[in-house]
């Protein structure tokens, strides 16, 4: 039904805008979206799932590195943070990236407490983002199922 589709599309649009406004996403995400086309219709979903897999892996590495009863290898933690920063900035995960920047400094300062806390924040943040993006994809699916096309949201 057109009205239904229109409503869904409006909902979708607002949702996306809110994600940007709340700082979950940034321009890089827009770029990512622009790379999705008929040739690779699931590009964004694919990249994001790779990203979240990376998050799980990296957070796990960092948790293990910080869990040492002996000396903590901050370099190792830092290396993982660096990688997370790279991938989060590439997908447009703004908050995660922001946390990584702080995290890096904490690693360099070898601030154990700070690192542990920051890691927890990163963990929460990427999971939150994952949930939100999942909602976004669900909305897209609903729109398509309702016969509509997913609108291009213009972020300004």
């Amino acid at each position: 039904m057109d009205a239904h589709v229109a409503q869904l599309q409006m909902q979708y649009r607002n949702y996306i805008l809110s994600l940007y406004q709340q700082g979950f996403l940034d321009d890089q995400f827009t770029e990512l979206k622009s790379l999705q086309d008929d040739g690779s219709p699931d590009f964004v979903a694919e990249v994001l799932s790779l990203f979240f897999d990376d998050c799980v892996k990296l957070v796990g590495n960092m948790a293990r590195a910080l869990d040492q009863t002996g000396t903590v290898d901050f370099c190792q933690v830092g290396a993982n943070v660096h990688q997370l920063k790279g991938s989060s900035s590439s997908v447009g995960a703004k908050r995660v990236k922001g946390l990584c920047i702080n995290f890096k400094e904490l690693c360099e300062a070898k601030n154990y407490e700070g690192c542990v806390r920051c890691l927890q924040q990163v963990d929460v943040e990427y999971k939150t983002l994952k949930a939100k993006l999942q909602d976004m994809f669900n909305l897209e699916k609903q729109i398509v199922q309702a016969g509509g096309i997913v609108p291009q949201v213009d972020i300004n």
């Binding site: 990512l32 790379l35 990249v47 790779l50 990376d54 660096h82 790279g86 991938s87 590439s90 997908v91």
Partner: protein, 566 residues
């Protein structure tokens, strides 16, 4: 790649350019792949550096360009960069989330033709094809004789990142064809046929430096340089290899400051002597430039004539032929110390009228005929004023060599610079001195960059104008110093970096040169940045410890010699 292959590739270029992307981060790799596809390149990806090397070794002609992340678990991205540059002579672009300039510097000095920061944007990738074009272009130019007839202008145009490169590509293709033909035909350029060794005399080198300066280091392409130099029987190839050596030298210097410092002078001399390049230039060892006078005297013990003479010989610099390991470093290299570098730096500013400010303190080797310009005088005068203490310091310098270097080098410096930078500076200096051309200012820029930087750092009273000039290019000031210490042995080895260098040079002269400079700077400055400043300061204030002073003195000494060159 043969010309034919090039032509074929060029037909659709950059569409279909074959890129190998390496990144252990699967997210980034996937995005990169997609971005590259969007640019219509042909993409191969791998998340392991080893695999990438295997792919490359399997068939060297399979790829046009490599993009690699810096931080990878199985191999350092810089290492991969070097290997690719050396073995395959392909342009390599580095990718990293590190925006720290020292990483960028490292990338450039290791031969990367570009350094991109994550997140990578498609706009940046749209222009990477220029590196491939430039690389091939320079290679062809290097291999072809310096026929001025081919549309050199076209070449330059092609190198520009002009997306509408259909025409440009065609031109390039034509040029390649033209080059090929000319190569086979009897050129009216005799040197093209046999490529007789070109001896990079001081004068020749001066012209070279002047031309490079005039063009700006980044933009200095062999063809243009050749045109500017307007020297009969000089081929583009000669210029290209000279330029390459220059850059290579810079690169080496940055990487081997320590080693170079220790051995460079002699090495260079040896190297340079072997080189057919620069001719021995009489080194005005006793150059009274040194206001320090006393210092100069002190320097003598080094038998500057013997060593300096060699050092100053253009062969060092002119090592274009053999290596960049031109003994130019010798000029200043008497002391393979930072000071030497310092010298370098200082010398540059001297040339500039403005630069005189910085170098004010530095004794200008008046003996240098080049210096015999008003600039010199003003500089020298300024120097003496600025660095009244200099002479004293000089004498206090334990490094007699420095003095020697300073004095003797002025003349030799222009040619003796092993590094391009040095040469450039010399050029500047020479230019400035001789007031022969207005190229000085631009040249200064290139040179000044090297030197200027350092000076900027130092709280020299006069600093400003010079620093501007010096800093034109970048804080390459540190570079200037490395020059001196160019280790000939290293230079020899630099041959290994030939491809890399080529890549560097071809893809982005600026990168090579400047980067190297930066690297030097960072390397040097990093380690000794403080020292440089200290040196300057110390010379100024004579507050530094002996060590510093010596460095400083040397630096000044070097400068003075440089100055003379200037």
């Amino acid at each position: 790649m043969t010309v034919e292959q090039d032509c074929v590739a060029l037909d659709q270029f950059p569409v279909g350019m074959r890129v190998l992307a390496v990144d252990d981060d699967q997210t980034c790799l996937r995005i990169l792949e997609s971005l590259l596809h969007r640019c219509q390149y042909h993409v191969t990806t791998t998340n392991q550096a080893q695999k990438a090397l295997e792919l490359l070794r399997e068939n060297k002609n399979k790829f046009d360009l490599v993009i690699s992340d810096v931080d990878m678990p199985d191999m350092d991205g810089f290492k991969l960069l070097e290997l690719v540059g050396l073995e395959m002579d392909l342009p390599v672009i580095m990718l990293s989330a590190h925006s720290d300039p020292k990483y960028v510097m490292k990338g450039v000095t290791h031969g990367a033709c570009d350094y991109l920061l994550k997140p990578v944007r498609i706009e940046e990738l749209k222009n990477i094809w220029q590196h491939v074009v430039r690389s091939r272009f320079d290679k062809n130019r290097g291999s072809n004789n310096g026929d001025k007839k081919d549309g050199s202008g076209n070449n330059e145009g092609v190198a520009n990142s002009d997306p509408n490169n259909g025409r440009a590509n065609r031109k390039r293709k034509d040029q390649y064809n033209e080059d090929e033909d000319e190569e086979r035909d009897d050129n009216d350029d005799p040197s093209s046929q046999k490529k007789p060794r070109v001896v990079w005399t001081v004068e020749l080198h001066k012209k070279f430096v002047a031309a490079v300066n005039q063009l700006g280091f980044e933009k200095a392409m062999p063809k243009k340089i050749l045109d500017l130099m307007n020297v009969e029987k000089l081929t583009r190839e000669n210029v290209a290899s000279h330029l390459q050596k220059f850059r290579l030298y810079l690169k080496r210097i940055s990487g081997n400051q320590q080693a170079i410092m220790a051995n460079s002078d002699l090495h260079f001399l040896q190297m340079s002597n072997g080189l057919d390049g620069f001719h021995h230039r009489p080194i005005p060892v006793g150059s009274g430039q040194f206001h320090g006078g006393a210092a100069a005297a002190g320097m003598r013990p080094f038998s500057p004539n013997g060593i300096l003479g060699r050092l100053n010989t253009p062969s060092g610099i002119g090592g274009v032929r053999n290596n960049l390991s031109s003994p130019s470093s010798g000029m200043f290299l008497q002391n393979p110390t930072d000071l030497g570098k310092f010298h370098h730096v200082s010398s540059l500013p001297l040339n500039h009228i403005d630069g005189g400010n910085i170098l004010q303190g530095l004794p200008m080797p008046l003996e240098f005929d080049q210096l015999q310009t008003n600039n010199n005088k003003s500089i020298i005068a300024g120097n003496s004023m600025a660095f009244p203490s200099f002479p004293t310091q000089q004498s206090s310098l334990p490094n007699n060599n420095n003095h020697l270097v300073l004095e003797g080098h002025p003349q030799a410096s222009p040619s003796a610079f092993p590094g391009h930078q040095i040469n450039k500076r010399l050029e500047h200096w020479s230019n400035a001195v001789s007031s022969s051309s207005s190229t000085l200012p631009p040249a200064q820029n290139s040179n000044s960059i090297i030197i200027g930087h350092q000076f900027d750092v130092s709280p020299l009273p006069h600093s400003k104008p010079d620093s501007l000039e010096w800093n034109t290019q970048n804080a390459s000031s540190s570079y200037s110093i490395p020059f001196f210490y160019y280790d000939s042995s290293q230079m020899r080895q630099s041959g290994n970096y030939g491809p890399t260098t080529d890549a560097m040079l071809s893809s982005n002269p600026k990168e090579g040169f400047i980067v190297g400079q930066q690297k030097l700077q960072s390397g040097f400055m990093g380690a000794e940045a403080g020292s440089l400043d200290d040196i300057v300061n110390s010379t100024m204030k004579q507050e530094q410890s002996q060590g510093d002073l010596s460095e400083g003195d040397l630096g000044y000494g070097g400068f003075s010699s440089l100055r003379t060159c200037l």
